[in-house]
Symmetry: D2
Subunit: 109 residues, 4 copies
């Protein structure tokens, strides 16, 4: 890692992106997809933001901290939605999103 202070946050973003991809794909296979529509939408945005956030931290980019702030907001929104669904993939995603939001907020501070 070029800038080792980002290490934990990169890992949290990577895990969160994986949880969001898993959740979105699983939501699309649920019986009641309509109920999961907002979850799928937030998963998509959150996964994409987490991935780019991890990349900018790996590069020690000048925009890394600012992107962490946006990423944290996406994680909070996704965690809040996922927490309201009982599916295992939603519960796991809510957990990963909360952990990532906390890590990103520390970096953005």
């Amino acid at each position: 890692m070029i800038n080792s202070r980002y290490q934990d946050c990169v890992q949290a973003c990577t895990r969160c992106a994986e949880a969001c991809e898993h959740c979105a794909t699983s939501c699309l296979r649920e019986e009641d997809v309509k109920m999961m529509a907002r979850c799928i939408q937030l998963d998509r945005d959150c996964a994409d933001l987490c991935r780019l956030c991890a990349v900018l931290m790996m590069r020690d980019s000048e925009q890394a901290a600012a992107l962490c702030r946006v990423c944290a907001e996406a994680c909070r929104a996704c965690a809040s939605e996922c927490a309201g669904h009982e599916h295992d993939h939603c519960q796991a995603c809510a957990k990963a999103c909360t952990a990532c939001a906390e890590a990103c907020e520390r970096m953005a501070a």
Copy 2:
């Protein structure tokens, strides 16, 4: 454009990625989301592949032609699914995917 032979295909990929994003987001807002689940899934993959395909062509990457082949397959699958739905966003997406598949197949040949 570094390599001008890619110009038309980059444009087709850019348009196709936009049509797929529009279609996926619109599908999530339809009354019957479940019927659109496979459409949303293919839109996601196709959009991501088209975007990276355009980027690799812009860079004149050694993997550009090989990625065009994979991108064309994703476009064909997405076009075939979208063509079966009457929504305007699906019909527009099927058209953009078919045009992109043709452009990518020319590059991969």
Copy 3:
């Protein structure tokens, strides 16, 4: 476009990402690559941020405006660096970055 107010900004982001990819690839082929190192680095970040910014706007994402703010900062930094180099690809990139920064700042306001 789901949300038509984003139309111009999506186009500015798409053009800027293309200019940044072109500039980075061209910089890597210049005689004096060392002098272009910071340019290449900023091009990479700016291209990736512009691409995701366009995607989030296409999706009418809740994070679109916030990402526009970060994207504008990356565009300003890249424009400032590129403007200092005489290469055509740098001058074209500086122009695309400035236009994109202005479009993103309007969206973030």
Copy 4:
């Protein structure tokens, strides 16, 4: 993981993308950047392909195996270039690329 057979390859792709980002950023900070130009270029393509390859596997996408084949080629090219440079980041990148190429080739078979 939706499809557990991809587990190891997703991890290899994630690690390889990180190694390539680290190598590219480090190369841009080396004394002799010109000597590293091809390395930076291959790192960029390989990182982007590895990231998308991991995403498509997470989604159990129909294009996952086909993208693994392209990704393996990018990894082989990057490994070959990196192996010729003595920098620690290049040696580490060559190792990650070779491991990822092997994992992707198993998936594409």
